[in-house]
Symmetry: C2
Subunit: 164 residues, 2 copies
DNA sequence: TGATTGCAGACAATAAATATCCATAATAGT
DNA sequence: ACTATTATGGATATTTATTGTCTGCAATCA
């Protein structure tokens, strides 16, 4: 089976699409999957993560589907990333400094975190800070000014057709 | 989102240990593996990546092993990360914006990169900048001041025993 | 020469990501 | 009340990435 891509990219795109939706309207997981050309059942899992994180609001039944749970300027890209990735760090330290000849040394001598992990985590904080600084509203803004009117029109028409 | 494997932690620790080595001395892959309590044959793969990236210098035969290829203040943490992870980006965009109802639109309408990928890559640049700012010498410095003398002594003695 | 070590590639095992399926519950329209 | 639509959560299968091992070869040193 074809390799489709990653949940994070899907979730971010869905979030931005939902941010551009008219108030009161919703899009189903199936519609969002078709729009992005990804497997519907699997995308539904990603959307569930967003729903659990209270980034999107879900409703079952006909006319159900997803919409943003709060205004687009209250949702950062980091919120979406953490929701999908479970907030796990990029760098995972397994405390290898305690092994080998050091494994007999008492834990009290290793109070602080490893200096190497420190560096990696500081960098990760810089990454997160950058993601926290951008909201879905910011991206929506840029999309409106930077994406060609042709693409914008096709997507808008298609979304309108789905939400009638 | 790509997460970092354990090889990175191993490689970083090895690099810092080599940075603290007396001039002219070397440590074998087996010794470094024992010091960190990791599988020797697999650690050797990581060390080969560092050697290919010309971060460490390798020598075969008895008295062989690894030492830094340049001075510790010329090697950034980013250099090691890129060597081990192959310089691949954390966020991989699969251009899902071109699928679904948009797939019939000509490629010329999609000239620039996706606004979402832009955000992710800007954040990644912040991460890389932070890693580029720190050198092995910086870490060595911090280790000397922050790690307990007990641990420092055990490691130093053990390294001395390996390099006689 | 024999022992030690790094190198490269092939291979096997394990973990993680990707993808599907199903049973259940909620909702809207009839 | 009935049906069609949709989200949810769990179970499961499939594919890919990571982790780990093995072997043959070349370089080095005593
Ligand atoms: S022990 Fe994990 S990064 Fe040092
Ligand atoms: S198409 Fe890949 S991030 Fe938008």
């Amino acid at each position: 089976m074809k390799r489709h891509g990653n949940q994070l990219e899907w979730a971010l795109h869905c979030a931005v699409v939902l941010a551009g939706l008219d108030a009161g309207k919703r899009l189903s997981a199936g519609s969002l999957a078709e729009l992005h050309g990804v497997p519907p059942k699997y995308l539904a899992k990603a959307l569930q993560l967003l729903a659990n994180a209270e980034i999107v609001n879900s409703a079952p039944g006909p006319k159900g589907g997803y919409c943003l749970a709060k205004s687009a300027d209250e949702i950062s890209v980091l919120d979406v990333v953490d929701a999908v990735e479970g907030g796990e760090p990029l760098f995972r330290c397994q405390e290898i400094r305690r092994r080998g000849p050091c494994q007999s040394i008492g834990a009290k001598h290793f109070a602080k975190s490893c200096q190497i992990a420190d560096v990696m985590w500081r960098a990760e904080e810089a990454w997160r800070a950058e993601l926290a600084r951008v909201t879905l509203a910011d991206i929506g803004q840029r999309v409106l000014t930077e994406v060609s009117v042709k693409v914008l029109g096709v997507v808008q028409d298609w979304v309108d057709a789905q939400t009638t």
